[in-house]
Amino acid sequence: MTAVSEPNQLADLFARLSGLVFSEQTVQSSLQITVNLMHEVLPATQGAGVTLIREAKRLTAAHTDEVVKRADALQYELDEGPCLSAFNDGSPYLIDSMEKEERWPRWAPAARGLGMGSAISVPLIVPDERRLGAVKAYSEQLAAFDEQDVRIMEMFAAQAAIVLANVLSHSDAARMSEQLKTALRSRHVIAEALGVLMERGKIGEDQAFALLRGSAQRNNVKLHQAASDLVSEVANPAQR
């Protein structure tokens, strides 16, 4: 996590919320939750991960499986690949087929060799436009993802970037208030529910938020409760 340890402007603002501080441990688990969510919300995804980049330093900060870690290590070694391109350009990359991919002539065949068929990489960009790295998902199948999946990945990347942007380094996990931990858990559940609705309805984040809000209002509950209900319904369809 050294890639994000430098205090920044947002972190300073964050410090104004007295005692509310993200620890590196929290960030690590938050990133891990993010990749797990991507894994769950995009059905085609077989693995997902987050790459953090600062200057020459590249790091896979969270991953769901060894394939992601090894494919990332290859990107760093070969100095080419979709996450590095996404980071450099600030644009998303959709790879339909590792077999036909020509943008990264050395990395793509190697990734195919690891079992990757298709993939998405999107940049991690914080609201002040600073780039922190990239998030990626892959499938063993060819052409497993479409443009809508790219939008969902961008939503998750935005979530992850905001958490990262608010990092204060070297803060003790114990200092983080229960209040912020609760807020962070709630935020993750709502993000997951938005991802589910975007995937289901092939809609954007604005409409997904309106849908979730409508459901909360109809049931006279808070958005967090509506999100939590939706997520458990998806996780345990038989119980409904």
Binding site: L10, L17, A158, A183, R187, A210
Partner: protein, 82 residues
């Protein structure tokens, strides 16, 4: 801020809610809000204009607070609810 209706509706909502800007920000952050605390302050003062999604998230954070208080005068949203 003069003449900026977004800012007026949000800031007067915040005052009615009894929330500090910090408290509102944390609630808005919980709803997956993307703006920093400084940006939220700028929205409330009319120095920046939130996009419709961020506006709706701030409005919803305030409306949830009104629900807790039993107030029946929610801030209207930009996007129609589904």
């Amino acid at each position: 801020m003069a003449g900026n209706p977004d800012a007026m509706v949000l800031e007067s909502g915040r005052r009615n809610s009894g929330l500090t800007v910090d408290e509102l920000w944390l609630r808005y952050f919980e709803l997956t809000g993307e703006a920093s605390l400084l940006e939220l302050e700028a929205y409330l003062q009319g120095a920046l204009i939130p996009d419709p999604l961020q506006f709706d998230m701030i409005a919803h954070a305030l409306n949830e607070r009104f629900m807790e208080l039993g107030h029946d005068n929610p801030i209207p949203y930009r996007e129609e609810a589904g």
